[in-house]
């Protein structure tokens, strides 16, 4: 054969060989491609193709116990969920359209395990199964959420959203109108109420404002035509037919302990809109947080709504956690972490082996120490009295957020112990009334369980390694 025809034949042969090699690669390496696995799981119609895919890995809690595992019997892709509805948020549900961590970790779970290529990779979370269940049960079936996290590393120990639903029967939730498909811990947005006074106090302290302010019983009118901002005691006195005299001239510590709306509205207006906006920007809580990711998917928390106040009335409302503010329970826990962690908010994460990193540093260690003292005083002698746990030195802040339609939302944020905090907790109970009524008892139950599980050690506790 003449050389040019031989070369032409060789080119054709090489081309066919290349196409064939791509075909071979498709057949043998598809099982390691999590995108292909996800596609076949969702859209596949060939049982033979499904059989070639790696069996899905497990989602484990921080102790190595399964939160999502392959069902021993049943279809190839069937799963079981030991925590049931207590864990459905955040674990999610596996299926043609996976949710929660089942979706965010899909690539990792669908890829071969480094140790055993015939099995899917497992992922260990920072979540503690028993604490997660305790957090869910603390909500007692009421709509709300609870988040418990490490203020130093950002690891989330529990993130309960109530009501949940049966992960083995997700269709039962789709017809309900109570929003049980929403992960309230990460995506629920609520007016924060008085827990936001942590933010206002920090903004004022950073601006050098720390003074006594007169708090009359009639309240504070931030601008002409605006309704007065009054302390919560005003309504209680009025219901009894009495007149609230006001706190008088009080300092920040006392105002914080008693959660005086008048004090903090005046304080916020005194610092100005610029200080509010600057602190909001420094916290970065308007941004979404990535909690877990693999492949193309990520699990994100919602960003908080903290629009710049347009006028003095909005500023006054925002300073006491009302108005147009919208906070997630996770963001509330992160704000508590700032006070616990010398002013640094850790990047929250659901993964056990994620490296600890700082999400933002909204205020100084000095300001954080001051706020910590005030939160401790709130528990010792203020509105958060009910959360005192012997030996644990809990620091906390209650919140009662007006909703405008129905009962107030009950909030409570806390961390413990005061010296070297190891856990921060945020609880919201929708329409639960006063913060001390509904959210505080739930947070207390979570703290007790966390102590039992070794996530927090009080004075006198035996030295044990935390999980």
């Amino acid at each position: 054969m003449k050389a040019r025809f031989a070369i032409l034949f060789a080119l054709f042969a090489l081309s066919f060989a290349h196409v064939f090699s791509v075909h071979v690669r498709n057949v043998f390496s598809s099982a390691e491609n999590p995108d292909m696995v996800a596609f076949l799981r969702r859209y596949g119609q060939s049982p033979e193709a499904a059989e070639r895919m790696v069996p899905r890995g497990e989602i484990l809690d921080c102790n190595g116990d399964a939160l999502s595992a392959r069902a021993e019997d049943g279809a190839r892709w069937a799963r079981e969920y030991p925590l049931g509805e207590a864990g459905v948020h955040p674990v999610g549900v596996f299926g043609p359209r996976p949710t929660g961590l089942e979706r965010a970790l899909d690539a990792a779970l669908s890829s071969p395990s480094p140790g055993d290529p015939s099995e899917g990779g497992s992922v260990r979370l920072s979540i503690d199964g028993p604490l997660q269940r305790a957090a869910y049960e603390a909500l007692a079936g009421r709509a709300g959420a609870a988040v418990a996290m490490d203020p130093r590393s950002g690891r989330i120990f529990a993130a309960a959203s109530s009501p949940g639903y049966d992960p083995l029967d997700p269709s039962s939730a789709s017809g309900a109108d109570d929003g049980r498909l929403v992960n309230r811990a990460f995506e629920g947005l609520y007016p924060p109420g008085s827990i936001f006074k942590i933010f206002t106090a920090a903004a004022a302290l950073e601006a050098g404002e720390d003074m006594a302010i007169d708090c009359p019983g009639a309240g504070f009118v931030p601008m002409r035509g605006a309704p007065p901002v009054r302390d919560a005691e005003y309504a209680a006195y009025a219901r009894r037919g009495a007149k609230w005299p006001g706190f008088g001239k009080i300092g920040m510590d006392e105002a914080f302990a008693h959660s005086s709306n008048v004090y903090f509205a005046k304080l916020g207006c005194g610092c100005g809109k610029a200080a509010f906006d600057a602190m909001a920007a420094k916290t970065r809580l308007r941004e979404k947080c990535e909690l877990a990711a693999s492949g193309r998917e990520r699990l994100l928390s919602a960003g908080c709504g903290m629009p710049p106040p347009a006028n003095a009335a909005e500023l006054a409302a925002a300073s006491i956690g009302q108005g147009r503010l919208q906070f997630t329970p996770l963001a509330a826990a992160m704000l508590a972490c700032a006070a616990a962690n010398d002013g640094a908010i850790p990047a929250p994460t659901l993964l056990a082996d994620a490296p600890a990193r700082v999400f933002s540093r909204p205020f100084s260690a000095r300001t954080a120490a001051r706020i910590k003292t005030m939160m401790r005083k709130a528990v010792v002698s203020g509105t958060a009295r009910g959360c005192e746990i012997p030996g644990l030195d809990v620091c906390g802040k209650t919140g009662t957020a007006q909703t405008g339609n129905g009962a107030d939302h009950s909030w409570f944020v806390c961390f413990a112990p005061e010296e070297n905090p190891q856990i921060a907790v945020a609880v919201v109970v929708e329409n639960g009334g006063f913060g001390a009524e509904a959210a505080l008892p739930a947070a207390k139950a979570i703290l007790k369980k966390a102590r039992e599980r070794g996530f927090v050690q009080g004075s006198g506790d035996a030295e044990e390694d935390a999980p």
């Binding site: 025809f5 080119l11 081309s15 196409v19 292909m36 859209y43 119609q45």
Partner: protein, 366 residues
């Protein structure tokens, strides 16, 4: 008939029989209207065989001058009277004249190159201009129909034919073509951009642009090395889009596995080997290039189809020669296979024979 001719004929019959059996299984046992195109293809293939066997490249000489105009006329007719059906455009009666245009470009190039070799210096410039004009008409036909696959087939088969004429010219043309491709893909038309996206990252839109490719991959995965099971073609037809034409390679992979697809490639390569061997042995440049053009048409189309299905290259919407459903495609390919078998079956005649001298003396007239 020489051994090469018999081999090509055998390979043609084998592939066509495989294709017909796949089509019957994909259509759940029905004959699915294959008899007409099959008969037309066999008759035209037989005619081409005997014509090429007797007269070699001279047989293509009559077609070549009209090829560009025929291509443009076919494109205009399709544009004006064509109706969309299952992703393709057809004239009334289900005829796609562009299937015949694909090999015409390579035949045209073969004839030009052969004539150019025989022409005197003064005539070459005019020939070059006519060639450029002809290729421009082919390109215009493809552009009129927005047919990226047609353009790719024409370009690559002409490139191979040029290479068969001269390695230097072929290499130079390939470099120029690469430059043109780079420019084209830098500013691709919308539908080409969509195909590029689907090729590069089908998972970005698995239920949309990536669907066909990923479904084809599913079938190939299911087929493994030796196939899922005989008869799974019908099941695959239920969920692989365009299973009987563009993605028939995937269906074959599902039913026969890597082993079956390797055998299909081997048959194409055997045909290519026999065809190029015949080209190498041919007496005159015209016959050599005619054989090279025919082999190029078959192999290029097979590579573009299979390459798109396995995601080695973007999908081009081409059929797999002799296997895919499509009467026009089947008839055209059988015609070209008949021509190739005829060329391969020509007995080597001495260079000093009167017939040999008469063939060398003729000039191409456009």
């Amino acid at each position: 008939m020489t051994r090469g001719g018999k081999t090509i004929l055998f390979c043609t019959v084998l592939l066509a029989a495989f294709g017909v059996s796949e089509q019957i299984r994909l259509s759940d046992g029905a004959a699915a209207g294959l008899s007409g195109p099959l008969a037309a293809g066999v008759l035209s293939g037989a005619a081409a065989f005997f014509a090429m066997r007797a007269r070699g490249g001279d047989a293509f000489r009559r077609i070549a001058p009209f090829a560009p105009f025929a291509a443009l006329a076919a494109a205009v007719a399709l544009k004006m009277f064509g109706r969309a059906y299952r992703g393709g455009v057809f004239l009334p009666g289900g005829v796609n004249p562009m299937e015949a245009v694909k090999p015409l470009a390579a035949i045209f190039a073969a004839e030009f190159l052969a004539a150019s070799g025989e022409a005197e210096e003064g005539e070459k410039r005019a020939l070059h201009l006519k060639f450029c004009g002809g290729m421009a008409l082919f390109a215009a036909s493809a552009a009129l129909l927005n047919d990226f696959g047609l353009l790719a087939t024409i370009a690559l088969s002409v490139l191979c034919t040029v290479f068969a004429h001269s390695v230097f010219a072929g290499t130079l043309s390939a470099l120029a073509a690469c430059g043109a491709c780079a420019l084209f893909f830098a500013f691709p038309p919308a539908h080409v951009a969509r195909r590029m996206t689907a090729w590069l990252d089908p998972f970005s839109d698995p239920a949309g642009a990536g669907w066909q490719i990923l479904k084809a991959q599913e079938v190939m995965i299911a087929g493994g090395v030796f196939g899922a099971d005989f008869g799974s073609a019908a099941r695959a037809a239920a969920y692989v889009p365009v299973a009987s034409s563009d993605f028939v390679y995937a269906v074959a992979a599902g039913e026969w596995g890597l082993a079956g697809c390797g055998a299909i490639f081997a048959i194409y390569l055997i045909m290519a080997f026999c065809g190029l061997s015949a080209a190498s042995r041919a007496e005159d440049e015209r016959s050599r290039l005619a054989a090279a053009a025919t082999v190029s048409f078959i192999c290029v189309q097979a590579l573009l189809n299979a390459g798109g299905v396995v995601r080695a290259i973007p999908m081009t919407g081409l059929t797999l020669p002799l296997v895919s459903r499509g009467g026009s495609s089947l008839a055209t390919t059988l015609f070209m296979c008949g021509a190739l078998a005829g060329l391969a079956s020509r007995e080597r005649s001495s260079s000093s024979s009167p017939a040999g001298r008469r063939r060398r003396g003729r000039r191409l007239r456009f």
